[in-house]
Symmetry: C2
Subunit: 315 residues, 2 copies
């Protein structure tokens, strides 16, 4: 087995989703699953995570059918991580009803030798100590991104700061950026966070799109306007996976920083990927979507940014 | 006096603003004031509105100093329209504390002969009957836009529907679009509203930017990321005024529909205009900003949409 281009590390879960239109249980989920499905659309992708004895062979097969390398999917004694949530009527908010870490509580990612040299590493939202542990096992990848959450920002600030010093990109939402920096203005917060390590910062805004801050300025990609949204679960992780799939697909073989605006283009692809994710419950749509469909929607999104020539404005 | 390119009709007010950092009273405001300041940066602009006997000569002068034609600014017996509002600590929401319509209650815009042939007409958020009244007094302008609000959507649906049949562009926010169409999905809501008349629909999203729906597809302009926001009052009206200033400045003399993507470019200019508005209390910043400053920020915004070449993606 050859080295993957993209290594995704994170949670694999069974979700119970209480949607306004029905309840769905034992839905395949977890950040690493969503990210891997999206990344694998365009690049050789391996997943590192842990599942319990209850994990269904059919769900492993779903991953394998999308050419995701699952040798890093550890099976441990106990049950798979489980999350139960309830969405509001308009799907704009959700509450967590239950979280059972199960085998995920003892998760300590061991990266097999075959997987230790990825070009692109995506560290899902796990304990910063585990993110550092994964990094210590790898050859330096060309580009490393991490996700995190308020729980680690407040609970493990020192370890998280170590993570920030070792990654190229941090992916968080507005609230997390404010908590991490202690600054409410998002532009100032971004500057503060970037000083701590990551050259690139992406602020995820759900249906409102995402904002990128880096040395090339600020970039904003809108959410893809959809007629039917069924389930926002996993959209952010799908976005991150799509981003990495694009980067790896466009990899130029160098170990230099990414080409100018490459991340901007990747954000379009990421947004298009995420737009498919939310069109059905769990990862159902993502398991079926074709590369062609995602590319077509990426091009539609690019057209949404087209202002048709110059501004022709003089001061 | 020559015919203006842009005619702005709407409220002229004194606002009392309770901001987290202080209270500001008798602040020059009202939709027509904000829109006129922005439009006048780039085009010959006239304002139609009403003020009371308490309206300060210095405030008329502020308008005249920006070359705004104020012959349509009627002075009536009584007091100027007054609004008092309190903003939340992070400025993301506000509550109305007092509204005194005063002379605005009896406002019935009479357009002087000299002003009856504008190329671009911006109808602020006033009673739909008054919007229709203004339209009936004018030669058909090349392009007409209107703003409205939930109060008229629920209270005057029939008259508002007549307005929709006579305008080219409607400017509203998400909530208003949902109420007007009775459809919660914004893409479907937009299609429904556009069927009732306006070929173009702009959904305003405050700091999250604005969305345009028309025959050329969907366009999204992000909010301009600012380090210091002082007062969001009037940002939407400034956006509308900036939009019209750009359209009039770029007017090609034809009576045909606007050139492809012209409104998209106008939205960048509109967003840049609005970004100055929120940098100080009331219209203070807007009264001082130069055309050069707005153009510079418009170009920065354009750079924020630049993905640097092609996607180079194959399906």
């Amino acid at each position: 087995m050859t080295t993957p281009s993209v290594l995704v590390v994170g949670s694999v879960a069974y979700d119970d989703l209480e949607m306004p239109y029905g309840i769905f249980e034992d839905v395949l989920g977890g950040a690493a699953v969503y990210s891997s499905f999206a990344s694998a659309l365009f690049a050789k992708t391996a997943l590192v995570g842990v599942v319990g004895e209850d994990f269904k062979p059919g769900d492993v097969k779903k991953l394998e059918e999308r050419s995701i390398d699952v040798q890093g999917l550890e099976r441990a004694a106990g049950k798979t991580f489980r999350w139960r949530g309830r969405y509001s009527k308009d799907l704009s908010s959700r509450e967590t009803l239950e979280t059972h870490l199960n085998v995920f509580a003892e998760f300590s990612p061991k990266v097999a030798p075959e997987l230790r040299n990825p070009r692109y590493l995506l560290l899902g939202n796990i304990h910063p100590a585990l993110q550092l542990g994964v990094l210590s096992q790898l050859e330096k990848p060309r580009f490393v991104a991490a996700d995190t959450m308020n729980f680690w920002i407040s609970g493990e600030p020192k370890l998280l700061n170590d993570v920030l010093g070792k990654i190229d990109l941090l992916l968080i939402n507005d609230e997390e950026a404010r908590e991490l920096s202690g600054i409410s203005n998002i532009k100032k917060a971004a500057a503060d966070i970037r000083k701590r390590g990551p050259k690139h910062l992406i602020i995820k805004r759900g249906e409102h799109g995402a904002l990128l801050f880096d040395d090339q300025g600020t970039f904003y990609v809108p959410g893809f306007p959809l007629e039917d949204v069924r389930d926002p679960t996993g959209a952010g992780d799908t976005f991150a996976g799509g981003l990495f799939g694009y980067l790896a697909a466009k990899d130029d073989g160098k170990n230099a920083p990414l080409p100018e605006h490459c991340l901007r283009r990747a954000m379009l692809f990421a947004t298009a990927s995420a737009s498919f994710c939310v069109e059905d419950v769990g990862s159902a749509r993502l398991e079926q979507v074709s590369r062609k469909d995602v590319v077509a929607r990426t091009k539609q999104l690019l057209a949404m940014l087209d202002v048709g020539g110059t501004l022709a404005l003089e001061a």
